[in-house]
Symmetry: C2
Subunit: 237 residues, 2 copies
DNA sequence: AAGTGGTCTAGACCACCCT
DNA sequence: GGGTGGTCTAGACCACTTT
């Protein structure tokens, strides 16, 4: 059984997505919603806060909650998105090629990023992502072995994320992301179809488990013309 | 007088920043915190949720709230950051040059982005940002005139944001952001010190007022080597 | 079994917007 | 003044982790 506030969130967000709620109009007031959904006001507010955080409504003190036109833009693809999820949205001519799958001693950079001792070993996974027959993305993953001892090359060819979440039942909770643009290395030029491009976009990801242990460092290196990042920022006053 | 939950949030986040809370240890439990701060549990939870959202702690059901090592990385500069704020963080050799300040009929692209009628006029502001004597950033802003009739060139040379928020008392509430990498235009080459760079990073911003009206469209065009974007993503399950 | 965080309730007071 | 969302409370039950 789903949470009450999540269920309310889903019902209202569905209505907004489908256009059943007119953009720029007001939602029923919180008091009305309590009777509509037969619940308490705090529960309604939890659902509305989620809607606001995810860009469906805008709450205004003294007035009400305004429905935002979500279909005006294509929808935010913010936060953590695995390649597999992404690929399914774009089209189906996608392929993952595992270039390297090995157990290594972390070099200084990785060791520091993952906060490891010298004894810890890490999986190093290098994968090329091909979209419509072009090699667009180079993914380099470093995963702490003690957390995922049973990783295999087959899993990497599919999706590491779904293995961690569905098979191992580990939940990935949050990540720090950094985006920079640099000149491609020899390796980038060898493995990707870079054509004449002078720059690549590097997304560095620091991935944590639910219990706040940092277990994965990922570099995703994109050909610049195919890169696109969408974010829905909210301001904390 | 500050909110209770905000005040608690500030006290705890300060302690974490200063290292007075040991990273990887547990915060006092929510029940203990209610007596420590003499408040109700829901108020404590509001403060803790803020801490969690901003990457200070990680909450774990059945265990407690783990303090995250925030000093391990430089701190997230996520969300909306004005050039002025940013410049103050980096160094002081920064300058803003207003290249264009005019009232124009919006072209089709801008008109569509801002959801305007043909009668609406917009301010077009083009500014070059110079850091350490290099022209690094080209900012193009389009602001709906009816919302900010009194804009002047002097204001643009300083900070449009602080004018809107401090002088006009308008609050900018949230924005959708899109980052792409493209080839520079003639204009980019003319106005920026692009040296040999073949790409520029374009950040498109859609800025809203508190009442959910979209009033500004901004393109910030950065030389790739000086661009850096940091985000602290949380996953919604 | 005891302690933790997650959800939910019913009620209160406040700041703000509109008419 | 009546309606709106924002904050705060005291208490309840639940799911989960640890001992």
């Amino acid at each position: 059984m789903e949470n009450k506030y999540l269920s309310i969130y889903n019902q209202i967000s569905d209505q907004i997505k489908k256009g059943e709620m007119e953009p720029d109009t007001l939602l029923p007031s919180e008091n009305e919603l309590t009777t509509l959904y037969d619940t308490s006001r705090e529960t309604i507010r939890k659902a509305l806060n989620l809607l606001s955080q995810n860009g469906f409504i805008q709450k205004v003190r003294g007035k009400g909650s305004i429905v935002i036109d979500v279909n005006k833009f294509d929808f935010p693809v913010s936060g953590l998105v695995s390649f597999k999820e992404l690929a399914q949205k774009i089209d189906n001519k996608v392929r993952t090629i595992v270039k390297e799958f090995s157990l290594v001693k972390p070099d200084e950079h990785v060791k520091q990023q993952l906060n490891l001792t010298s004894k810890d070993l890490v999986w190093k996974v290098v994968r090329v992502r091909e979209i419509s027959d072009e090699k667009i993305i180079l993914d380099k993953d470093y995963l702490v072995k003690k957390y995922v001892p049973g990783l295999t090359e087959e899993i990497c060819a599919d999706s590491i994320y779904s293995y961690l979440e569905n098979d191992l039942n580990l939940t990935i909770s949050f990540a720090k992301k950094e985006i920079i643009v640099i000149e491609p290395t020899e390796e980038d030029r060898n493995l990707l179809d870079l054509e004449g491009f002078q720059n690549i976009v590097v997304i560095k990801n620091y991935v944590y488990f639910d219990d706040a242990s940092l277990f994965q460092y990922t570099e995703s290196r994109h050909r610049p013309d195919k890169f696109r990042f969408v974010d829905f920022a909210r301001r904390n006053h």
